[in-house]
């Protein structure tokens, strides 16, 4: 019999990333369904001081490996440290963030633990003690339910921005146990970390995304989308056509060969809606399309469509958003 459910948190630049709290919340639901305590694993530099915060989201006890050598994620140091902690806990399941680092970590940790990994899940259910996880495949063109074999350790990485996050209960602090983990010598190392401090919203975590495609006609025209994004507190994305044309960096690309996004609102501007793009943004909760071609396939996915020349429409729309924001 297993003794707990484990959740792995992600700590960067002095704080837990929000996805850690989403994973903790989901872990709490799984632990309750299985009637087990929920243990957290927190690895990083300076993480001890924050570890009890995981309790706000349902974690009972946090095992902390705090070492200056763990300031930046590299698999070679994180995986052995986490594996050692986990092996002492005998978990029924491990939940992790499907963030950039989390997906990389999950894969290597799964191999180390000989576990079964369901990567980038959007739903976890537990029926009669049996776990099932749902994950999009083909960038969301299809959804797959996964189950584990008898005796296999389930690992579930959770897609950011999808699973419900509990409201923080600051009165519920987690117990914290420091672990004296030996950080192995590594052949890989982080030379530098450049975090954008301009407040730019990351696509995979954005509540609202404004995306531009071939219809933008050139890189300079994205300023009108950036203005709209600023009013909405949105991130700016792009279709593959716009990225391949060199108008936007590849980190902005939404689609099957780019990022798969799940915002509350996705505004597709001058994007015709190639099947690869529709795959990457199709799970957005609400979709708006602006395109002058009424036959554009994007309209078949959009909740609201506007058939207009984007260069006429977007500035006027931005102004209307500004008016709304100033009155509420």
């Amino acid at each position: 019999m297993a003794d707990c459910v484990c959740v792995v948190s992600e700590f960067r630049a002095g704080n837990f990333r929000r996805v850690s709290f989403e994973v903790a919340s989901e872990g709490r639901r799984v632990a309750d369904a299985l009637g087990l305590p929920l243990y957290g694993i927190a690895v990083g530099s300076g993480v001890s001081d924050k570890a009890e915060e995981l309790g706000f989201y349902g974690v009972d006890k946090v095992f902390v490996a705090d070492d200056a050598a763990l300031e930046h994620y590299v698999a070679e140091t994180y995986v052995p440290v986490m594996a050692e902690i986990i092996q002492g806990l005998n978990p029924a399941a491990i939940l992790l963030p499907a963030s950039v680092d989390g997906k990389d970590l999950s894969a290597r940790l799964a191999a180390r633990l000989q576990a079964g990994l369901a990567q980038d899940c959007t739903e976890v259910v537990c029926e009669n003690g049996v776990l099932k996880a749902k994950r999009p495949i083909f960038a969301g063109k299809c959804l797959a339910w996964c189950e584990w074999s008898q005796g296999a350790l389930p690992m579930i990485s959770c897609r950011p921005n999808v699973m419900d996050c509990k409201a923080a209960d600051a009165s519920r602090k987690a117990a914290v146990e420091k672990v004296d983990a030996a950080v192995p010598e590594a052949r890989s190392r982080a030379l530098s970390v450049d975090l954008d401090t301009s407040g730019k919203v990351e696509l995979t975590e954005a509540e609202i995304i404004v995306s531009g495609g071939r219809g933008m006609k050139g890189p300079e025209n994205f300023t009108i989308l950036e203005e709209l994004a600023r009013e909405l507190g949105a991130a700016v994305g792009a279709s593959r056509a716009a990225v391949d044309a060199g108008w936007r960096p590849h980190s902005d690309q939404v689609g099957q060969t780019g990022k798969v996004v799940n915002p509350n609102l996705y505004i597709a501007v001058g994007i015709s809606g190639a099947i690869q793009h529709l795959a990457g943004m199709g799970s957005s909760k609400f979709i708006v399309a602006v395109n002058k071609d009424p036959e554009a396939p994007i309209f078949s996915k959009a909740d609201f469509g506007v058939v207009e020349d984007l260069f006429n429409f977007v500035p006027v729309f931005t102004e209307e958003v500004r008016v709304l924001k100033s009155t509420c």
């Binding site: 590299v74 698999a75 950039v100 990389d104 894969a107 290597r108 799964a110 191999a111 000989q114 576990a115 990994l117 990567q119 980038d120 495949i137 083909f138 960038a139 299809c142 959804l143 797959a144 339910w145 996964c146 189950e147 584990w148 074999s149 296999a152 052949r187 890989s188 190392r189 982080a190 030379l191 530098s192 970390v193 450049d194 975590e205 909405l232 593959r240 990225v243 391949d244 590849h250 980190s251 690309q253 099957q256 060969t257 609102l265 099947i275 795959a279 799970s283 909760k285 609400f286 708006v288 309209f299 996915k301 609201f304 469509g305 506007v306 006429n312 429409f313 729309f317 209307e320 709304l324």
Partner: protein
């Protein structure tokens, strides 16, 4: 530099995906197969390393006979030889089973560097590279959008949420590739390349050639499996904001609808 590229064949990204009658697999009859785009970036990165340092590029893949076509494409781009693991025992294997098989071939080749895609555009498991590295007990760096090497170590840039990290690793190591076509601009196979590729060695291996036991890697050994597939939820037919409104009227109406009906702004 002795380089291995782990290559997966995937359906073309333009494919319409249909669920098969067993509700657990997809219909493959009419699919067009391509090199997984991220693995194609790995082929390109490998060829650039070879141009700088010499050596050989070996393509290693696992899958049915049709995968030969994708390996030949990589050979036509300039890779030197191919290895295909083709054995029915891998039907239903999980990522770990596949990684064990790939690692067995890599171990035999004993390269300086292994490159592969950070993810595949089909099942998007994102596990192959890190798992192979773990089995080999090698370091790995993930999601490279640039790759520089002095022959003894490799430096990459890795985008993370809200920024980027520059990472370095001493060889031998495994690197998984991120980025886009615009970043890597993988070369096309030239006609002479295609002719030459036909004569390049392509080894087909069975389970017995890998020194592995079926109980470690087969479908029966899988720790995790897909039990059912479902289509994504249909979106209800949308509404075109028109009603004879002019541009300003449509903008006003869209803002109202997003605020009052959809409640998303």
């Amino acid at each position: 530099m002795n380089i291995v590229v782990l290559l997966k064949q995937t359906p073309d990204t333009e494919s319409v995906i249909r669920i098969a009658g067993d509700k657990r697999s997809i219909v493959t009859d009419d699919l067009k197969w391509i090199i997984n785009p991220y693995d194609e970036f790995a082929v390109e990165a490998a060829l650039r390393l070879k141009e700088k340092y010499g050596g050989t590029v070996t393509i290693v893949s696992l899958g049915p006979q049709r995968v030969v076509e994708s390996i030949r494409t990589a050979l036509a781009m300039g890779a030197d030889k191919g290895v295909l693991i083709d054995d029915e025992v891998f039907e239903g294997s999980d990522s770990l089973g596949v990684a064990k098989a790939l690692a067995a071939v890599v171990r035999e080749i004993n390269p300086d560097i292994v490159l592969c895609g950070s993810r595949a555009v089909d099942y998007d498991l994102g596990q192959r590279g890190p798992m192979v590295a773990e089995i080999l007990n090698w370091p790995h760096l993930g999601l490279a959008v640039s790759l520089e090497s002095d022959g003894a170590k490799v430096t990459i840039e890795r985008p993370i949420e809200g920024g980027k990290v520059t990472l370095e690793v001493d060889l031998p190591a495994l690197v998984t590739m991120g980025g886009s076509h615009a970043v890597w601009n993988p070369r096309y196979a030239s006609l002479p390349g295609i002719m030459k590729a036909k004569k390049k060695p392509l080894d087909v291996k069975k389970l017995a050639d890998l020194g592995l036991d079926a109980s470690e890697v087969s479908g029966d050994a899988a720790r995790i499996r897909i039990t059912s597939l479902e289509p994504p939820p249909e979106r209800a037919a949308g509404r075109i904001i028109d009603g004879g409104l002019d541009t300003a009227g449509k903008a006003k109406e869209l803002v109202r609808a997003l605020h009052e009906e959809a409640k998303v702004i």
